[in-house]
Symmetry: none
Subunit: 210 residues, 4 copies
């Protein structure tokens, strides 16, 4: 099932022709499907989201949806995969400047990234929370992101042991993961600022050797 994906949504190199040859059409479809899935999963939750609605929202026939993603689980996987790439890229970008940042600046940078991925983040949360059997697949995403985040933190605080950086990265990711939930509270804006405090206090304490 997971092996089929590489066939259906190949990460092939960007094509040379500027037009939309066969291959590119598929890429667009996949993107549209993932966008629709993001919206529907976020709105309804994993179980309540229906393949039919996701297909409809992206103007795709249900049969075509199943051609690209052979199951609902595979679709979720696809979403996770795309998110992993985007978030990874964002973290790499932060890592590039991490050494020159204060704890507060680091907190800001991470929160900014969080906001940039906001819409996807909600869908992600839904998928990660869904107690599906595909827990293993989630492990993959975790691994990818976690490594990137550890890179960020090591760059930021070169003194950290590899072990410590790993643990820190898990906790920071955990904290970031919960941010969209804060947006649902009445005091969303204030809580967002408050999370800045949480993060910077934690990072400062941890780097100091807490």
């Amino acid at each position: 099932m997971s092996s089929q994906k590489s066939t259906a949504a190949p990460d092939a190199a960007p094509n040379a022709t500027g037009r939309t040859p066969k291959r590119a059409r598929g890429r667009q479809r996949v993107a549209a499907l993932l966008d629709a899935a993001t919206v529907v999963f976020a709105e309804k939750g994993y179980d309540a989201a229906t393949m039919t609605e996701i297909a409809a929202r992206s103007s795709t026939a249900i049969g075509s949806l199943y051609r690209f993603f052979p199951s609902k689980e595979a679709l979720a996987e696809g979403l996770l995969h795309r998110y992993g790439e985007r978030a990874g890229a964002g973290l790499d970008a932060i890592a590039a400047h991490a050494s020159a940042m204060t704890a507060a600046q680091m907190a800001d940078a991470l929160l900014d990234l969080m906001m940039a991925l906001k819409s996807e983040r909600t869908a992600l949360k839904v998928l990660m929370d869904a107690r599906v059997d595909g827990a293993n697949r989630r492990q993959y995403l975790r691994g990818v992101i976690r490594g990137r985040m550890a890179g960020v933190l090591s760059a930021h605080a070169p003194g950290l042991s590899a072990e410590r950086a790993d643990l820190l990265s898990v906790m920071v990711l955990h904290l970031m993961k919960t941010i969209p939930e804060l947006a649902e509270e009445a005091e969303a804006a204030a809580l967002f600022q408050e999370m800045r405090l949480v993060l910077s206090a934690y990072l400062a304490a941890a780097v100091a050797g807490g």
Copy 2:
């Protein structure tokens, strides 16, 4: 299935009196149902959890489950209610000693409470996240707990404004809410200690006026 019940409900008739037969049995049933619901909701999530499985896990006939909780939503509500009472009592107990605690001790106390309610906490998170219509009932729980937590924090740091205490309590609750997720990671124990650091650093910074 019905014959299994006498085996599966060894906690029957704790007292020797012939009294409270009907009533007590009902109470036990409800408790068993809520326990089973806690487990199943936590394992599967709200949508994927089935009334049939919850009934089976508590050795209850499906019809009996519906006698006590006339809908899945009502069952969720029952769980929320029970959790509210337990968590509220725990917070009140902490509040009684809050003034004499350091930030680190407060973090410990809160985490201890969290551990005591661990199994229920996971189910709770699932229910609070579920995109059900009965959002009002959840709002009620939120209000109750939040007020209790604000009491704890005010007792701990009398200098806080009511507003600030409110905001802090929301954030602390938010952080605590996410703890069960950490338990799913490989480094659960270490992360738990890490959360101690997060909480105490945040509390110390916040009380200091960060």
Copy 3:
């Protein structure tokens, strides 16, 4: 099943004591149950009516309801039986004066009887229409009433052959049976008068040898 009824609801002679000894209490219960059943069947239809509601409306425990009527079908039977007795008595009363009536007067008398039994009539219709297996039991009621009606018609028009009187009685009963439905139309009152016309025209034509 049907044999149990004679035990549960005996048509025993009116008791001598003026009080309410054991036997009479049962009689009251049965009457209350049948009254409640009449209302609920009429309101909801046979299938949608629930034994629980019928018990509740007559302030009877569900277990007691089942003591008197061992099944829903038996309860329906009980209602049919009571209706048969009441309608039969009414028809006998009409028969006593039938020889002195014109066709129009006969139509009036029958319609008056119909109105007197109105509330029960609606419940009856529901039960007769219900496509339950107990079709045989309905046959019984039909037989009883039909014989009475044939008596009325023979008294009214002595010239009719027994065969003809039988056929006429079936048709007249059929027409009367449908009256409650007219009450649901907007023009109920006018239709009721119209039914007078139908009946008297038919009786006159039939007696005349149509």
Copy 4:
């Protein structure tokens, strides 16, 4: 079950052309479903009829039944609609010759129509009697048929006032509606002739100004 279908649906593809495959199949399905529903509703009544049985009788998967009729109520509505069209057409055909008919001929014509729609009529009665909420839809059917019948009567007896024609049509429809019940009696054939007498006597009396 799916393999049985080719056996159970011998009316498939009446034309030789490869054309109208999808569309025509849908229409056939709907017709088969309505036919099955007619039978089952007539046999069991509205409540006791199960969607599962209706699907089975038309060799349709339950899911397909729900694709065409998204609820039991919708299915009933579909039946009502189809009946309305057929009965309306029949009444219009009678109206075309009504002016040249005697009361007895009119009675015959109406009874003939009734016989032609016999099987549907029984189901109709069940649906119209059913205590469902969708009463509005039934009102619509009533209106349509009633207007057609008033047209028939006006054509038959031009002297009738519009009001009177309306009232007459309601009563005539009422009488016709009850015919299927007569078919359940032992003397069905004789009763059918008797209904001829009822109708013609009534029409004659009414036209005469009774």
